[in-house]
């Protein structure tokens, strides 16, 4: 599911036209939302409420302890046919008109395999998963003309960004009712943002051109521990803790700006680099309950917590500062026939960005999302294919105008059409 990625990609236009300014605090990938992509074939339909189940290949991500309860060897993949996102900044453009950002594209969020390793050790299950946590490919072009004193405004933005992980995990059935698991994963953040802006006005600094290029590449590792316990046959409780750190972070920013004011040319290109914009990787705690009410009905719920992390980089300042976030998810699965399960999920996807305040300026956007998922699957004895949609609707606040502490409302809508398949062997 796509979110507002370039909520920091702000064309900062002061309301007072004579001092129209253009300052970029350029884009970053969306490290601020933790449920942008719902991973896993079955889990996707359950809105990500899967920590208490996790007995398929996606257990590598949700809870390696759940792998111990695997029913079969699985190979699973998700190919999201299409995603789309629209973020509307209300009256953000000179206080009179909305500014809209749209993006769309395709991506494959998940591929996983799971293999029982009973021949090595009875009760042992191994798994591997590749998953996309967030992705964006944006090509935006905005042109405004003859808006009062603003004769012409043109902004072109291109963003390519992805965060993905590759994790291996082992689950072990300690007893019939208890499974433990360990995971070790690699995380990569790769973002590139290029923005070009020009404006011409009738008074004050009457021409400004600016291009901004930002790049962030980070490599990290995550270690996870999961447990799943079944207090009764129908009930399962799972918990996961994941901690990691970035082995390397490389952030670079180049701003090339030319301003013409009353015949005076002011050109001030700047370059800046940082080796620590993301700070540490937030500790993640996840807990879930699953009730296997009957072979046809499954109800699940999840709660996950990500700790707060401060951005201490002198270059990015507080751009990547994250508050602690707690998200919730509910899921249900009902087999309408032996071959057709319907899955529904509800979840939150809160923003870790601090909420903008009118006492400050130049703050990044903050958008909290509520999401729902609905998937239908077609089950065969050894395989299953699922198709459905995940919709996220968000509201929030932005501060689009530089040197202006006023806040604007944000409405956001994102959806993903998903298609997944699992084969058991």
């Amino acid at each position: 599911m796509k979110m507002t990625r370039d909520h920091r990609l702000i064309y900062l236009i002061k309301k007072s036209i004579p001092l129209l300014a253009l300052v970029s605090s350029a884009a970053s990938a969306d490290q601020m939302h933790y449920r942008n992509v719902i991973t896993g074939e079955r889990a996707q339909g359950l809105g990500g409420a899967y920590t208490g189940v996790a007995d398929d290949a996606s257990g590598v991500f949700y809870n390696p302890g759940g792998l111990a309860f695997a029913q079969s060897n699985d190979i699973s993949g998700s190919a999201n046919a299409f995603y789309s996102k629209k973020v509307t900044f209300k009256k953000a453009f000179l206080g009179v008109s909305d500014f809209v950002e749209e993006s769309g594209g395709t991506f494959a969020p998940f591929f996983g395999v799971m293999q029982k390793l009973g021949k090595v050790l009875p009760g042992l299950v191994g798994g591997f998963a590749y998953y996309t946590l967030d992705t964006e490919l944006k090509d935006q072009d905005d042109l405004k003309t003859n808006l009062g004193a603003l004769q012409r405004f043109h902004r072109a933005a291109n963003i390519r960004a992805a965060t993905f992980g590759a994790t291996g995990a082992l689950g072990y059935r300690v007893s019939p009712s208890l499974g433990l698991g360990l995971s070790f994963g690699y995380i990569k953040v790769d973002e590139l943002t290029q923005v070009s802006q020009n404006y011409t006005i009738t008074s004050g600094p009457n021409y400004l051109a600016q291009s901004v290029r930002e790049s962030l590449i980070a490599h990290g590792a995550q270690l996870g521990f999961g447990v799943q316990w079944a207090p009764s046959a129908q009930l399962s409780v799972g918990a996961t803790v994941r901690s990691g750190s970035y082995a390397s972070q490389k952030y670079s920013q180049v701003v090339d700006k030319v301003k013409v004011d009353a015949g005076v040319i002011d050109a001030s290109p700047t370059m800046a680099n940082s080796d620590n914009p993301l700070g540490s990787m937030p500790l993640e705690l996840r807990a879930g309950v699953a009730w296997f009410a009957s072979p046809r009905l499954l109800l699940t719920s999840d709660i996950d917590f990500h700790e707060a992390v401060a951005d201490t980089s002198a270059v990015t300042k507080t751009l990547y500062t994250r508050e602690s976030v707690t998200n919730f998810a509910l899921g249900s699965e009902y087999y309408m026939t032996a071959s057709i399960p319907l899955r529904l999920g509800f979840f939150t996807n809160y923003d870790a960005t601090p909420t903008p305040k009118t006492s400050k300026i130049g703050q990044p956007d903050h958008i909290d999302y509520m999401g729902t998922s609905m998937f239908l699957a077609w089950a065969q004895p050894n395989s299953q294919i699922s198709a459905g949609i995940v919709v996220q609707k968000g509201t929030g606040k932005s501060q689009k105008n530089a040197s202006d502490s006023s806040l604007q409302d944000i409405d956001a809508l994102a959806y993903t059409l998903g298609f997944s398949a699992t084969h058991s062997f």
Binding site: P176, A233, Q380
Partner: protein, 319 residues
Amino acid sequence: MDGPKLIALALLTSVGLTVACSAWMKKEATDEPSLSKSEQLILDDYKAEVEVGRNMAGRLFTFYGEYQNEGLKSYINSVGQYVARNGDYPDRRYMFSVLDSDSVNAFACPGGYILVTRGLLESAANEAEIAAILGHEAAHVGKKHMFNSLRAMSKEQVEKAESEAAARKRPDKYSRARLRPVGDNSDSGSALAKFLTTASGAGIGILQAAKLGMGLLLEKGLDKDLEFEADREGVKYAIRAGYDPKALDRFLERLAETKKKNNDKTVMDVTHPTIPDRRKVIADILNRMGADQIVGAVGKDRFEAARASLVVKGKDKVK
């Protein structure tokens, strides 16, 4: 002739040739003899049987692994084909091979896939015993014991078998609670499945039939009367092929002694009638055929020569 005319002529020639070829191919297709409804049903029946059997044989190969000894496989295949040709269904297709398993067993899958274990070859004393065992399995195939048993299953029997299989696979209550409904096989996935679904039984598809068939092969076994019939027919086929009539009886006698000595219980004990009961049936058919008057080949030397390459892994041989 100038360029445009040449191109036009080439195009016309191409179109003409294409039309002529299409007409000829259509005529060829039309000239193929069409099958009557009953012939088509027989063909569909056979295709479905082969499909189920192939799936089951594949599962057995996956589970046990094929014993990689081309010489031995070739030998078993030649003995099996020879016995089968002397059976009541010589026109059927048979394929014999060896599974890499210590256990003493043989499997007959629908469609003619007959697999014997390495353990069985280690336990046999001569070619006549192998011939009688392969005759037993060829009788299962020829009389379509497995295929007809699967097709005759009622919906309740199918559900019960699946639920039992599921329970056996996932023995603890925590895993059972996670079981989801077993999805139906898709008719559209296979035209062959369509035949089975229109049969008089539970309407099961190829994959489901193969799974249930594996349950019969490895866990439940066929009806006892069908096993007795296969024993009678197997002995008959082996005798017709010129083998020692009492070979199967001697093999079973030795097997029973070994089992008793080792207090051994195998899959065969669950899937087949008791050895004493089988020997009674064999004694009866031998008596009716006047086997005492028949002198058959034992084929010990040839068997030993073929078996010499067998890598013996098991400990408890029937000797």
